[in-house]
C-alpha cells in the first residue's frame, strides 16, 4: 500500500477577527496513526479542522503536509495536497440531488479517467466497505442518519486518501451505530494504512479508535495535553482534561499513582 503522510502544526493561532480561539498550537500527526482532536464545545476543534482543510486562514503560524507548507502554498499546490485527503463532514454532507452511488462516484469521475463501468464497480466496492453495498440508487433523504454518515465515509474514501479527516463522526448516532462506525474506522485504518485525524468529544470513540489525542482547552485557549488516551486518563496534566475524560467535576489530583 502507498505510504501515508504526516501533518505538522507550527505555532498556529486561530482567530475570528480579534477573538482568539486557540493560540501557539504545536504538534505533529504521524504517518499511519489515528489522532483525536478533543476538547469541550467551543474549544476550536472544528475550526482547527477547517484550517487543516484550507477553509480558514490562520492568524499566525504554519501547517505542513510532509515537507510542504500548506499555509504558504498557492491554490494549485493546495488542491494537489487536498486531493490526497478525504473528509467526512459532521452531517455527512451528501449532495441531496444525487444518489448515494453518484455521491461516491463524483470524486472518481472528476479526478480519474476510469470508464463508467469501472467507476460503478469501484463505487459498489467503496459502499460495501462501509456496509452499504446495494444502496447505490438511494437518495440521501431515503436513508437513516447513520447510513448517511457511512455513505459520507465511502465518499471520503473514494480516492483512497493518504489522510482521512473525520469531523465528529459519531455526532447524532445512537451508541450501537457509533460503535459500528468506530469499528469500521479501525478496520479501514488497518487495511488502508491511512493517517486519520478525528475531531470528536465522544470518549468511547477516543479510547477505542485513537492512537493519540490532543486536548484543546477552551479556557486557556491552547493545547494542554497530547499523548495516548489511556496515559492521559491515568495522568491528566490539567483539571479541565481530567474533568473532560472522567466527566467528574469534583475529584482531581495531578499526582502520579
Amino acid at each position: 500500500m502507498k505510504a501515508s503522510a504526516e501533518i505538522r502544526i507550527e505555532n498556529l493561532t486561530m482567530a475570528y477577527g480579534q477573538r482568539i480561539i486557540q493560540q501557539d498550537l504545536n504538534f505533529e500527526i504521524h504517518s499511519g496513526e489515528v489522532m483525536a482532536i478533543m476538547g469541550g464545545s467551543g474549544c476550536g476543534k472544528s475550526t482547527l479542522l477547517r484550517h487543516l482543510l484550507g477553509l480558514r486562514e490562520p492568524a499566525k503560524g504554519n501547517i505542513f503536509f510532509g515537507d510542504q507548507s500548506f499555509t504558504d502554498a498557492n491554490l494549485k499546490m493546495r488542491q494537489s495536497i487536498l486531493r490526497k485527503c478525504g473528509v467526512l463532514y459532521q452531517g455527512g454532507a451528501l449532495w441531496s440531488s444525487m444518489t448515494v452511488g453518484e455521491n461516491v462516484a463524483l470524486p472518481i469521475e472528476e479526478f480519474t479517467g476510469h470508464s463508467k463501468s469501472k467507476i460503478r464497480e469501484l463505487v459498489r466496492f467503496k459502499l460495501s466497505l462501509v456496509g452499504l453495498g446495494g444502496f447505490e440508487n438511494y437518495y440521501p433523504a431515503e436513508i437513516s442518519g447513520g447510513m448517511k454518515k457511512r455513505a459520507g465515509l465511502a465518499r471520503a474514501l473514494a480516492l483512497d486518501p493518504e489522510i482521512l479527516f473525520l469531523d465528529e463522526p459519531s455526532a447524532g448516532l445512537d451508541p450501537v451505530s457509533s460503535r459500528r462506525l468506530d469499528e469500521t474506522i479501525i478496520e479501514l485504518k488497518e487495511s488502508l494504512g491511512s493517517t486519520i485525524v478525528m475531531v470528536t468529544h465522544e470518549l468511547p470513540s477516543i479510547f477505542s479508535v485513537a492512537d493519540r489525542a490532543v486536548f484543546l482547552d477552551v479556557h486557556e485557549k491552547r493545547m494542554t495535553a497530547i499523548g495516548k488516551p489511556a496515559d492521559l486518563l491515568k495522568n491528566p496534566p490539567s483539571k479541565s482534561l481530567h474533568q473532560f475524560l472522567t466527566r467528574n467535576f469534583t475529584e482531581y489530583s495531578n499526582e502520579t499513582n
Partner: protein
C-alpha cells in the same frame, strides 16, 4: 495485458488445476485499471479448473482498487462454483476484501424501496398523488377557516408582532415593484388602444379600454401575480426553512397550532393589503394610460377622464377589489401550503418556492375566469 511500468497488469497461468492471477504494476485509483470483463473469457475458456488464486508481484503498488477487482473476481468465481485461494495475499488486502464482502448491516432502514415501475403503475401513482394533493388543499383550507373563526372569537394564538412585520413586507416593501409594473401595464393597454382605435378615428375610446382593462382585470391580476412571485414564494421559503429546522414540530409539541401561529398572520396580511395594493395599481395604471393617450393620441386629460367616467360604474371598481381579496387568499394559501409540504433536502426550499409561485399564478388566472363568468351571469 501490459506488464510494464505504471500500468496495472494481470498475468494468467495454470498451476495444479488452479487459475493463478498474478497482479503487477500500479493498481491504485489513479492508475490505468483493467475491467473484469477482460479476464472473464480466460476464466470461461480454462477447462476443469478447481479455483482461482490471486498473487501479487513484489514491485506492485496497490490500494482498495485492487481489492475491488479481486472482489469482482470472487463474484465471478462464486457464480461458476469455483473456489478461491487468498492465502498468498497480504493481510491488509485480505482485510479489505473481507470488508467488501460484509452483508448489509442489520437495522439499516430506508424510507422506500427503489423498484422499476411500468407506465400503468406510474400513471396510477400520479393520479393518486393528484387526488391526495387536492384533498390536502381542501384540508388546509378548512384548517385556516377554523383558525379564522377562532380568531374572530378571540381564541386564536396569533403573534401580532409577526403580523405587523408581514404587513409591512407585503405592502410598503412591494410598492415600488407594483408601481413599476402597473405603470407599464397602463402604457401597454393604451398603446394597444392607440394602434387599433386610430383606424376608426375613435381615439377617445382609449379611455374605455384603459378604464375597463385596469379596474376590472389587469389591476388585480398583475398585483396578484406580483404578490405570488414576491410574497407567495417568500412564505413558502420561510415556512419550508422552519420545517427543516423542526420549528413547526416544536410548535406542535407545545400544542400551538402552526396554522394560527404561522399561516394566519400571512393570510390576514395579504387579504387586507391586496385590495389596497390593487387600488394603488389602478391609480398608477390609469395615470400612465392617460399619459400615453394625451402624448401619443392627443386626447386631452379632461376628455380622457370624462369618457372613462361615462362608461364605468362602481361595480367595475368593486369587482376589481373583490378579485384582489380572492387573489390574496389564494396566494397566501398556495405559499403557506407549499411551505408546509416542503421536503428536507437542500433543494427543498427552492422547490417549495417555485411550486408556490406556479400554484398562485394558476389559481389567480383560473379564479379570475370564474369570477368574470359569474359577474357576467349576474350582470355586473
Amino acid at each position: 495485458m501490459d506488464d510494464s511500468g505504471k500500468v496495472a497488469g494481470i498475468e494468467l497461468s495454470m498451476e495444479d488445476s488452479w487459475l493463478e492471477l498474478r497482479f503487477s504494476g500500479d493498481w491504485s485509483i489513479h492508475g490505468i485499471l483493467p475491467e473484469i470483463a477482460e479476464i472473464i473469457p480466460s476464466i470461461e475458456l480454462s477447462e476443469s479448473i478447481l479455483g482461482i488464486r490471486p498473487l501479487l508481484n513484489d514491485a506492485i503498488e496497490f490500494d482498495s482498487s485492487l481489492a475491488s477487482f479481486i472482489f469482482q473476481v470472487s463474484r465471478e468465481a462464486n457464480s461458476r462454483g469455483l473456489k478461491l485461494d487468498y492465502s498468498p495475499l497480504p493481510s491488509n488486502l485480505l482485510k479489505l476484501i473481507e470488508l467488501g464482502q460484509q452483508v448489509v448491516q442489520a437495522g439499516d432502514s430506508v424510507s422506500s424501496e427503489v423498484k422499476s415501475k411500468n407506465w400503468i403503475e406510474e400513471f396510477g401513482e400520479i393520479s393518486v398523488r393528484y387526488i391526495e394533493g387536492t384533498l390536502e388543499i381542501a384540508t388546509f383550507t378548512g384548517d385556516w377557516v377554523i383558525a379564522l373563526s377562532r380568531l374572530l372569537r378571540g381564541k386564536a394564538k396569533i403573534r401580532w408582532d409577526d403580523f405587523w412585520q408581514i404587513m409591512k413586507s407585503v405592502s410598503v416593501d412591494a410598492l415600488p415593484i407594483v408601481a413599476l409594473i402597473s405603470f407599464l401595464i397602463g402604457v401597454i393597454i393604451a398603446f394597444l388602444g392607440a394602434v387599433t382605435l386610430k383606424q376608426f378615428g375613435a381615439e377617445f375610446a382609449v379611455a374605455y379600454l384603459v378604464g375597463f382593462g385596469i379596474l376590472r382585470e389587469m389591476g388585480a391580476i398583475m398585483t396578484g401575480i406580483i404578490m405570488a412571485g414576491r410574497s407567495g414564494a417568500a412564505f413558502a421559503a420561510q415556512i419550508g426553512s422552519m420545517k427543516i429546522n423542526e420549528e413547526i414540530d416544536a410548535l406542535k409539541t407545545l400544542g400551538i397550532s402552526p396554522i394560527e401561529f404561522i399561516v394566519l398572520p400571512r393570510l390576514l396580511a395579504l387579504v387586507i393589503m391586496m385590495p389596497l395594493l390593487t387600488l394603488f395599481s389602478n391609480v398608477i395604471g390609469i395615470l400612465s394610460g392617460w399619459l400615453v393617450a394625451e402624448g401619443l393620441m392627443g386626447v386631452p386629460g379632461p376628455v380622457f377622464f370624462v369618457e372613462m367616467q361615462s362608461v364605468l360604474y362602481i361595480g367595475d371598481f368593486l369587482l376589481g377589489l373583490f378579485k384582489a381579496c380572492v387573489f390574496g387568499v389564494l396566494v397566501a394559501t398556495a405559499g403557506c401550503l407549499r411551505g408546509l409540504q416542503s421536503g428536507t433536502g437542500a433543494d427543498a426550499v427552492g422547490v417549495a418556492a417555485t411550486r408556490a409561485v406556479v400554484a398562485g399564478i394558476t389559481l389567480i388566472v383560473f379564479s379570475n375566469a370564474l369570477i368574470d363568468w359569474a359577474a357576467a351571469t349576474i350582470g355586473i
